[in-house]
C-alpha cells in the first residue's frame, strides 16, 4: 500500500465509514494514521472525559461531525447527583478556537448552557445539525441564538431535554430567509410557542421532512401545518385534545388523508379519548409508531389503531395495551423489529403486561431484534420460548417491576430463562436483567454472550463470582453498570486490566470499599476512579473499610478531570 499515492489511499478511505473501522485504519501504520486523521470527518466519543477537546481538535482538523456522551446511563434514573459533570462548553470553545468547520453536533446526557449554544451558533458558518438528547442546562434563549445565527441550519432535534422556558420567541428568531430546515423537533419543550411563527416557518421550508411539535400546538394549527407540509415523513403531534365535534377535528380528518408520506408518528402528549380514529388513514404506511407519551389512551383504542398498522417496524407503547393487545400486535405487525413497552403505573407494582404478552410477540414477530419490556412478571419457560422464537435479538432489556421477583410458576430464579436468551441470541449486544437472579445467570452470560457490549444489572447475584464470570467471559464488554448487588472488593480487583478494554464501569449500592477503589486507582493510572455519594461532601469517606455508595470508573487519556464537583472524589 506504500506504493499508492496519498490521494488514492484517501479515496479508498472515503468508503470506510464506521467509527471502529476508521479506528482500525489509523492503527495500521504511521502513514495511514496520518492520512486517516486528515480525512476523518465524523468522530464519536462515548465518554466526554476520555479525551480532552484540545487533543481531538489537534488530531482531526477536518472534523465535521462530533458526537459526545456525558453522564453515565444511570443518570437517567436520577442516580447521578446534580452537577456531576458532562459540560459541553469546553468542547465548543476548543472547536471554535481551532477553526474546525463543524457542521453537526450530537450530544447525549450533557450539560449544555445557553452560553455554549450562543458560542456554537456564532462560530461555525456551515453549521447544519444540532441533536440534543437527555441534556439539560439551557433555556429557550439558547435555542433563539441557534435559530437566529445558524444560517444553514437543517436539523434541530431536541429529545427529552430539560429546557427552561423563558417565554421568548425563539421560533420567531429563524430569519425569513431560512428555508433549509429538514428536521425540527421541539416536543420536549414545556412552554408556549408562537404558532404564527411556526406556521410561517413550515410554509417556507420545502425540505421539511420531520416535525415534532410540543403540547402547545393545538389541533387547528396542526391541521394548517399539515396542509402546508404534505411532504412530511415524520410527524410528532403535540396536543390532540379537542372537542371531537369541532370543525377543527373534522378538517384535520380530511387533511390527514393527504399526508401519504408519513411513515413515522409520535407524540400525542395530550389526547382526547376516541380521537385516534383520525389517524387510521395513514396507519397502513407507518413503519414507526411511538405512543409512549399518550397517557391515558385505553388499551382497546390502542388495539384498534394497531390493527391498521401492518407495516410497523418500530413500536413504542404503554403497557395498558395489555397481553391481549400484544397478541394483536403479534398478528398485525409481522415486520416488527423493535418493541418498547413502558409502564403506565411504574410504582403500583401492577404492570399490565406479563410473560404472556412477550411470548405472543415472539411467536408473531420473528424479526424482532430490540426489546425494552416493563412487566409485572416473567417466567423461565416464557424466556426459553422467546429465545427459541427470536434468536436475532441485539438488544434485550427486561424490567420486572418487582425487582427481585422469581418465576411465579416455579418460584425459581430467572437464571435459566436469561441463560436461554444469551445462548440462543448469538448477536446480543445489550442486555438488562431483572427478577430474582443468582450467580448462575452470570455464569451463562460469561459463557455465551460473546458479542455483549453493555450489561445492566440490579438486585442480582449472590457472591463476587457473579461479577467475575462476566468480566472474564464477555470479551467485547464495553459498559457494565451494576446497582444493589453483593459484589465487593474481590470482584472489583481480580481482573483490573479488563477495565482498560472497557469504556466504563458503574457500581452503586454494592459492597465495594474505599480502600479497594484506592488500590485500583493506584494500580491503573489510565483509569479515572470516581467515588461519590448523594451530593454529600467527598470527605465523608474517611476510612478505607467504608462502603462506597457510588463508584464510576472509566478509561481516559485526559487524566483527572478539572470540573468535578466537590462531592466527587477522583482517587
Amino acid at each position: 500500500m506504500n506504493y499508492f499515492p496519498d490521494e488514492v489511499i484517501e479515496h479508498v478511505f472515503d468508503y470506510v465509514v464506521s467509527h471502529s473501522d476508521r479506528n482500525s485504519l489509523s492503527l495500521v501504520c504511521k502513514s495511514w494514521y496520518r492520512i486517516e486523521r486528515f480525512t476523518r470527518q465524523r468522530v464519536f466519543i462515548g465518554n466526554c472525559y476520555s479525551i480532552s477537546p484540545e487533543r481531538l481538535v489537534e488530531r482531526f482538523p477536518d472534523l465535521k461531525s462530533l458526537t459526545l456522551k456525558g453522564k453515565p446511563h444511570f443518570a437517567d434514573f436520577s442516580l447521578v447527583p446534580h452537577g456531576w459533570g458532562g459540560f459541553v462548553y469546553p468542547w465548543i470553545e476548543a472547536l471554535a478556537k481551532s477553526k474546525v468547520g463543524l457542521e453537526e453536533l450530537r450530544l447525549k446526557r450533557m450539560v449544555v448552557s445557553d452560553e455554549s449554544l450562543e458560542l456554537l451558533s456564532r462560530s461555525f458558518m456551515n453549521f447544519k445539525s444540532l441533536v440534543l438528547v437527555s441534556c439539560e442546562g439551557f433555556t429557550t434563549d439558547g435555542l433563539a441564538a441557534v435559530a437566529a445565527n445558524c444560517r444553514s441550519l437543517r436539523e434541530l432535534d431536541l429529545q427529552e431535554n430539560e429546557v427552561e422556558d423563558h417565554k421568548g420567541q425563539w421560533l420567531s428568531c429563524f430569519p425569513e430567509n431560512c428555508t433549509s430546515l429538514v428536521s425540527l423537533n421541539f416536543a420536549c419543550l414545556k412552554g408556549e410557542i408562537n404558532i404564527g411563527a411556526l406556521e410561517r416557518l413550515v410554509a417556507r421550508s420545502p425540505n421539511l421532512k420531520s416535525l415534532r411539535l410540543n403540547r402547545s400546538v393545538p389541533v387547528d394549527a396542526l391541521q394548517r401545518i399539515l396542509m402546508r407540509a404534505p411532504q412530511l415523513m415524520d410527524l410528532g403531534i403535540g396536543s390532540f385534545f379537542h372537542d371531537l365535534n369541532s370543525d377543527a377535528y373534522a378538517k384535520l380528518r380530511t387533511t390527514i388523508l393527504k399526508c401519504t408520506s408519513i411513515t413515522s408518528l409520535s407524540g400525542f402528549l395530550e389526547v382526547a379519548p376516541f380521537s385516534l380514529a383520525a389517524m387510521y388513514p395513514i396507519c397502513q404506511n407507518l413503519t414507526s409508531l411511538n405512543l409512549s407519551y399518550a397517557a391515558g389512551i385505553q388499551g382497546s383504542e390502542l388495539i384498534k389503531l394497531i390493527r391498521h398498522c401492518g407495516k410497523l417496524q418500530r413500536l413504542w407503547i404503554m403497557d395498558c395495551i395489555g397481553d391481549k393487545g400484544l397478541g394483536v400486535v403479534a398478528t398485525a405487525c409481522k415486520d416488527l423489529q423493535e418493541l418498547r413497552v413502558f409502564p403506565s403505573a411504574p410504582f403500583g407494582n401492577q404492570g399490565a403486561v406479563t410473560e404472556k404478552g412477550l411470548v405472543a410477540i415472539s411467536m408473531g414477530c420473528r424479526k424482532l431484534h430490540s426489546l425494552l419490556y416493563f412487566c409485572h412478571q416473567m417466567t423461565n419457560a416464557a424466556l426459553i420460548t422467546v429465545a427459541k422464537n427470536c434468536p436475532n435479538f441485539i438488544r434485550f432489556r427486561l424490567c420486572i417491576l418487582d425487582a427481585t421477583k422469581p418465576d411465579p410458576d416455579t418460584m425459581q430464579p430467572l437464571d435459566e430463562g436469561f441463560g436461554a436468551i444469551v445462548q440462543s441470541c448469538k448477536q446480543l449486544r445489550r442486555l438488562s436483567l431483572s427478577g430474582q437472579l443468582t450467580d448462575q445467570v452470570f455464569l451463562y452470560i460469561g459463557m455465551y454472550a460473546e458479542q455483549l457490549e453493555m450489561l445492566s444489572i440490579a438486585f442480582a447475584g449472590e457472591t463476587d463470582k457473579g461479577m467475575l464470570y462476566v468480566l472474564n467471559g464477555c470479551k467485547k464488554l464495553r459498559k457494565l453498570e451494576i446497582r444493589d448487588c453483593p459484589f465487593g472488593d474481590t470482584a472489583l480487583l481480580t481482573d483490573i486490566g479488563k477495565y482498560e478494554t472497557m469504556r466504563s464501569l458503574w457500581m452503586s449500592s454494592c459492597e465495594v470499599t474505599v480502600g479497594a477503589c484506592k488500590t485500583l486507582a493506584k494500580k491503573m493510572p489510565s483509569l479515572n476512579v470516581e467515588i461519590f455519594g448523594e451530593g454529600e461532601q467527598a470527605d465523608c469517606y474517611v476510612e478505607d473499610g467504608q462502603r462506597v455508595e457510588k463508584m464510576y470508573l472509566y478509561r481516559t487519556v485526559a487524566g483527572k478531570r478539572e470540573d468535578a464537583p466537590e462531592y466527587v472524589w477522583t482517587l
Binding site: 430539560e162 379519548p273 391515558g296 417491576l401 425487582a403 448523594e534 462502603r547
Partner: protein, 179 residues
C-alpha cells in the same frame, strides 16, 4: 451484611422511615421523600429471597423501576386521566316526547348505533327509525336525537360512534314528523 448507619443529618427524615430500612451516611433524603410521595414502597416478594440474605428487608427500592423523568411525568398524567378511562358505564338520560318521566341507559353497553336503537326500541316500545333507514309514513314513527356538549340538539347517527360517545349529554326520542 450491610451496616445501618444513621448520621445526625439523616435523622430528621428517618423518623418517617421504618427503622429497618437500609440506609447509609450518604443517602439523599429528597430522593426518599419524592419516592414516598409517589407511593414507592415496593416490598420484595419475600425477605428470604433477597440476594443479600440480610436481616434488613429491602422494603424500599428507590429509583426502581428504571424509568426516566419523562416517563415519570407522563405517568402522573396517566394517574390523573385514569378516572376517565376506567369508565365502564356512560349513563345518559333518555326522554321520549310526550312522556315526562325519563329513563337512563348505559351507552357503553352498546358498540354501535344499531345496538343502541334496538335497546331503545325495546325500552320505549316504539319503532325508532334507524339513522340509515328511509323515512316512510313518518307520522307514526320516532327518531333519535341527542344534546351535545354545546347544547345543540342533533340527529343521532351522523358521526362515528366513538365521537358520538364523547359528545352526547342526553337523548331524546322525538316524533319523526316534528324533525
Amino acid at each position: 451484611m450491610e451496616t445501618l448507619e444513621q448520621t445526625q443529618s439523616s435523622s430528621s427524615s428517618s423518623s418517617s422511615i421504618d427503622s429497618n430500612k437500609y440506609s447509609n451516611c450518604c443517602r439523599n433524603r429528597t430522593d426518599l421523600s419524592t419516592d414516598l410521595k409517589l407511593g414507592l414502597s415496593i416490598s420484595p416478594s419475600s425477605p428470604s429471597q433477597l440476594p443479600f440474605n440480610s436481616t434488613t428487608p429491602r422494603e424500599e427500592t428507590f429509583a426502581w423501576p428504571p424509568v426516566n423523568k419523562s416517563v415519570l411525568r407522563r405517568n402522573i398524567i396517566v394517574e390523573k386521566q385514569n378516572h376517565i378511562h376506567h369508565q365502564r358505564s356512560l349513563f345518559v338520560k333518555v326522554y321520549m316526547e310526550g312522556i315526562p318521566i325519563g329513563r337512563k341507559l348505559n351507552l357503553l353497553e352498546h358498540h354501535n348505533y344499531d345496538g343502541l336503537v334496538q335497546a331503545l326500541c325495546h325500552m320505549f316500545k316504539t319503532i325508532i327509525l334507524s339513522p340509515n333507514s328511509q323515512p316512510l309514513n313518518s307520522w307514526n314513527f320516532h327518531v333519535l336525537t341527542y344534546e351535545d356538549q354545546e347544547g345543540d340538539w342533533m340527529m343521532v347517527g351522523d358521526v362515528p360512534w366513538e365521537m358520538f360517545l364523547s359528545s352526547v349529554k342526553r337523548l331524546k326520542i322525538t316524533r319523526a314528523n316534528s324533525c
